[in-house]
Symmetry: C2
Subunit: 341 residues, 2 copies
């Protein structure tokens, strides 16, 4: 299996990207296709000592920066690393693409080059989050679409159902709608209308899910618009970071230092705990609704996060997620969804 | 100072409410006016041993339950504990009111009985959250208005500015807009239009604030619609609970038990850490924009949370928050806000 990797995208590119790809090649037997400026990629490959591993390099002279307007940048920089990486999938050379660069540009390239699946009006980013029970929850949209209509949320539910079923192996995923209360009357105008459609659908719709339930596995798929999804994800990330910092600050001073001595044996479990909440462990988020597998990794991805994002790309490609979404749209589940077109 | 307390509202009412009010009377010298079913309130007062403390009881035979439609319930149950408690403020008998009951009913009673401040179209719930640095952040709206227009968000900013200035003592509060990215182009339709108005205002507007910045004190006031605010608050609450549970589950088994032995000296700091993130420590959330001080406490409030909510009510009443909002609307800050009417 070949995975195209945008070697120039991300805060720690190309170093962390190349290193993560090499780890993935070694650990999973995958063949990364590193797309970007060859001289810089090859320098990193030598540093890591990729040696005998099968790693390819494909040239792309341009890089889309974080501050650029995605659509405009994609038009102006036709040979950007993200566009050329997505092109590898379009041409059938790679099975999937991974990027930790500009999310908007990755989405734009996916839409322009691979195209959206007929029946899905808005592709969505699906974030796979850990829960207390250990079974993951799929939150979508995690940031692709800031303003959504009810039918978009319903389409997110359908795509989340497929992903949870095919990739996470959950037989009948419970689909919930993120809202400001469990009761049916709770919600904003868009979510209340979406709930009406979802209730009539063949999806295993469990109704409204509150923010506090997200991490307790009350639903396998949680649907929201991309504005809310992004804010929620970043709040969670910030809160975990804040708790860590509070712990660290509590361990200063002479009393803290004394306590730190007792803390040493705790390091193992503490690492496992943070690991469960660490986005780096969970790899990237698939962009669902386009004709191809595209994984969006966190902009701050380190080598471990990239390695895990490549594993997520392999999983989605192995399970033919785009093809499954296409057949679901023509299948029984979608028959009851008048909003699919 | 007299504070009217809805003794029948909340998951642990009237027990926790009465107990919290008694603690507030003892600790802060306040005079609670407990509103509800006298026999039940008096039984709790005897249990706690209120004895020499000045605590009043005002009869209200009805209780609005959590599942009821707020407006309908307020019409049908004219002598509900929440309505009678708010009435105490309206009649000038109490300086403020506290309720841990149905949030919608508390808001409705506040609006109907006290009325909204002219110029503020939508009253908002302001949650005061802890940050890593120790300086609190005011998040509003925390759940009163699910669908907002840009001018509502601007009005929230103005009210948050007053609250942070008067009650929290922050001289020139930095007002941020919760969004899906720091850049000006990020946001949904409503937040982008609100940012335009806020930029031209006399508020100390610092632009977009991301979810991850919320707990790091990058702004003193963070504005969002009530749907997003509620989801964010409950996600944070759920995440803190999830982290606690993961810690507990890691401490099971023989290895865990061994570690628990080492953990004992940590209990003190751990309590302080959770305390900083615990809504019970931070008391209730003021409902801003009505002609009176109304504090909304968490439905799951225990006695300590009620005690702290009463303290929050005392603070807001001492600083004449409603009067300050009224003068701000007629002052220089609002002059540049065409949306105030």
């Amino acid at each position: 299996m070949r995975i195209a990797v945008d070697a120039m995208g991300g805060d720690h590119a190309p170093r962390a990207i190349v290193e993560g790809a090499v780890h993935a090649a070694r650990d999973f037997g995958v063949e990364p296709v590193l797309v970007g400026i060859p001289a810089r990629i090859e320098a990193e490959l030598r540093r890591v000592g990729a040696g005998a591993l099968r790693v390819q390099v494909v040239e792309a002279p341009d890089v889309i920066e974080m501050h650029e307007h995605p659509a405009m940048a994609l038009r102006r920089k036709r040979r950007s690393s993200i566009a050329v990486a997505v092109q590898q999938v379009h041409e059938g050379y790679a099975d999937a693409v991974v990027s930790a660069g500009h999310t908007g540009a990755a989405m734009g390239a996916g839409l322009l080059i691979l195209g959206r699946i007929k029946g899905i009006e808005r592709p969505a980013i699906a974030a796979v989050l850990p829960t207390v029970g250990g079974r993951p929850v799929v939150l979508l949209d995690a940031g692709a679409n800031v303003d959504c209509q009810p039918q978009h949320l319903v389409q997110f539910g359908l795509m989340g159902d497929i992903y949870a079923r095919e990739v996470l192996g959950i037989p009948s995923p419970r689909v919930g709608l993120l809202s400001n209360g469990e009761e049916d009357i709770k919600g904003n105008d868009v979510t209340i209308r979406a709930a009406g459609i979802l209730r009539d659908s063949k999806l295993n719709f469990v109704g409204n899910v509150e923010g506090k339930d997200l991490f307790f596995g009350l639903a396998d798929v949680v649907v929201c618009d991309g504005f809310v999804g992004n804010v929620v994800l970043k709040c969670g990330e910030g809160l975990v970071l804040a708790i860590r910092q509070i712990f660290t600050s509590e361990l200063r001073g002479w009393r803290g230092r004394l306590l730190a001595f007792y803390l040493l044996p705790l390091l193992g479990p503490a690492r496992r705990i943070w690991g469960r909440l660490d986005y780096r462990e969970h790899g990237g988020a698939p962009l669902l609704g386009i004709n191809g597998v595209c994984i969006i990794a966190h902009g701050r991805s380190n080598a471990r996060a990239i390695r895990n994002a490549i594993r997520a790309a392999m999983d989605a490609a192995t399970h033919h997620v785009p093809a499954r979404i296409i057949s679901a749209i023509h299948g029984e589940k979608a028959a009851a969804l008048p909003c699919l077109r």
